[in-house]
């Protein structure tokens, strides 16, 4: 093998090893029907016995002592500097590392950051925003007086950038090469930093796709800050009491469409069509991703549009869609965990081990390099498949509950059930479609 071919081989081993798709041992149609029935039954129960807003107030237990510890200057400084140092370590691998698949930076971007932010936000609340490197650096120049995002823009810029990220992560042919990844990271830095200088630090919340995603999921965590104090709250109340910023529905649809495309693009049907065609792969990818996002967003828009006749106070389609988007958040979380948790478990470990030697010089920082990947949790494909199923069906059930609670606040009592039926139908289509894509073989 020539040196060129060797480099080619090493470069093109993508940052994934173990796929997330497994066959269920049960006849699959039964699972689909069962899942659709559970979602529908949840809704039927809700319309009968859940007639007032129950999740509208945050409630929960204030934790003054923990709040004081977490906001104490030494604690915040140490946490922010440690995380900043971690990012510096990643950047070192990006700038000075070798263009080989063993460079940890690929796993950092595609697995630790993009997938890791899901459990971090679901378990740690607003942690991602709290230690965001750009926000840390901005603090050196003065305390943040601005709100966490630019109110008028909402998270629309982030929704758009999630689609750009989706194209990069899933379609761009050379994404697992260092020059292309460097280009992407530079573009991210320029957008986030230049935008912050222009619109204030709130721009990070509006435009950074990673932070906007993390902040959205943090509403499903058991932690919420209110009036400067941290509260331990029910995740459902945390989400149900949230008035999402403009663009949250667009952000959720972009995330769901990207995940759906990821599954769809590995179905045998799609792979065969693309490989038999003479058109470039990226073009097929772009079409496939666009179609998935349009389907997800179109269905949601149709469900919301059909609900609007029952509103007690007339609202625009976008405003109503954003308000009801609280119901999409658990679905986004369910799909993210169902699709990518196995990737995080396996490739996350590989990345952490590789981080011992970011420059390919044979370093063994913290002795990380001596560890092996523990794959025990994935030994039983049935357990994995059932966990994936529970994440997705559970996400939809929670979504239906939270969306119904929001609908109770928005709808006239006599329109309650009928106005929600189209949106319920959308939820059932999402459930069945999502499971079919995840378990397609």
């Amino acid at each position: 093998m020539s040196a060129d071919a060797l480099t080619l081989t090493l470069l093109q081993v993508p940052a994934h090893g173990i796929g997330s798709r497994k066959d269920l041992p049960l006849p699959f149609p039964y699972v689909l029907v069962g899942a659709a029935l559970i979602v529908t039954a949840t809704f039927w129960f809700l319309t009968r016995s859940w007639r007032e807003v129950r999740l509208g107030a945050l409630g929960g237990r204030p934790l003054p002592r923990l709040s004081r510890v977490l906001t104490a200057l030494p604690v915040t400084v140490v946490a922010r500097v440690l995380v900043l140092a971690l990012w510096a370590w990643f950047v070192m691998a990006l700038i000075a590392g070798k263009d080989l698949v063993t460079n940890p930076v690929f796993g950092v971007v595609f697995v630790l950051v993009w997938v890791g932010l899901v459990p971090v936000s679901l378990l740690g609340g607003a942690l991602w925003r709290g230690v965001h490197p750009v926000r840390t650096i901005a603090r050196w120049f003065g305390p943040p007086l601005q709100p966490p995002l630019v109110a008028r823009l909402g998270v629309y810029p982030a929704a758009l950038l999630v689609l750009v990220w989706g194209w990069f992560e899933l379609i761009q042919p050379d994404r697992a090469t260092l020059p292309v990844l460097r280009g992407f990271v530079v573009a991210w830095v320029v957008i986030v930093v230049v935008g912050s200088l222009w619109r204030g630090i709130g721009w990070v919340g509006s435009a950074d796709p990673f932070e906007a995603y993390a902040s959205t999921l943090s509403r499903l965590s058991p932690w919420q800050w209110q009036d400067g104090a941290l509260r331990l709250v029910s995740p459902l109340r945390n989400l149900g009491s949230w008035q999402p910023p403009a663009g949250t529905a667009a952000l959720a649809c972009a995330l769901l469409g990207t995940t759906a495309y990821d599954s769809f693009s590995s179905t045998a049907w799609w792979v065969q069509i693309v490989q038999a065609s003479d058109l470039p792969r990226w073009l097929w990818g772009l079409v496939g991703l666009s179609v998935m996002v349009v389907i997800v967003a179109g269905l949601y828009a149709a469900g919301v549009a059909a609900l609007r006749w029952g509103l007690s106070v007339r609202g625009s389609l976008l405003a109503t869609g954003d308000s009801l988007a609280v119901g999409l958040v658990p679905i986004v979380a369910g799909y993210a965990l169902g699709h990518y948790l196995t990737l995080l478990v396996i490739e996350g470990q590989r990345t952490v081990i590789q981080l011992a030697d970011p420059l390919g010089q044979g370093w063994n920082v913290l002795g990380l390099a001596e560890n092996g990947i523990v794959a025990t949790p994935l030994t039983y494909p049935t357990v994995t498949a059932v966990a994936q199923l529970l994440f997705i069906v559970g996400g939809h059930v929670l979504g239906v509950i939270v969306a119904h609670d929001r609908a109770v606040a928005l709808l006239r009592p006599e329109a309650m059930r009928r106005a929600q039926l189209p949106l319920l139908t959308v939820m059932v289509i999402y459930t069945v479609g999502g499971l079919m894509l995840l378990f397609s073989t």
């Binding site: 081989t9 090893g17 016995s49 042919p173 590995s266 490989q275 794959a375 069906v393 559970g394 059930v397």
Partner: protein, 114 residues
């Protein structure tokens, strides 16, 4: 409210429990005959279900130099134009693994090992 949640959890568990009824997967050796010609692969995007511990044989003929990569197992073989190549491995890890070519960038097949 509380009772409803109990019902819901019970239904979810029932669904999960129903899934654990196992059906057997085809076991025994699997042979995949691969052809690479004019920048196209055959089979293209195929799926193979094998049970853990099965022997998988891959036979390749190609009209151009290429590299075959079995994901997860991290097997990489050089393919020489015009020279048939055969290799065998034991599918001892469960999961879903892609078999790809790296010069003609294509997915030959996905191996579902259970």
């Amino acid at each position: 409210m509380r009772r409803a949640f109990v019902c819901l959890v019970a239904a979810l568990l029932l669904l999960a429990g129903a899934c654990t009824t196992t059906t057997p997967t085809a076991s025994g050796p699997v042979t995949i005959a691969v052809t690479i010609a004019n920048g196209k692969v055959s089979p293209s995007g195929a799926k193979y279900d094998v049970s853990k511990g099965s022997t998988v044989s891959i036979n390749v003929t190609s009209d151009s130099a290429d590299i075959i990569h079995v994901h997860g197992y991290e097997i990489e073989k050089d393919v020489v134009a015009g020279t048939p190549l055969s290799f065998t491995f034991t599918a001892d890890q469960t999961g879903s693994f892609e078999i790809e070519t790296h010069v003609v960038e294509a997915t030959i097949a996905t191996l579902n090992v259970r």
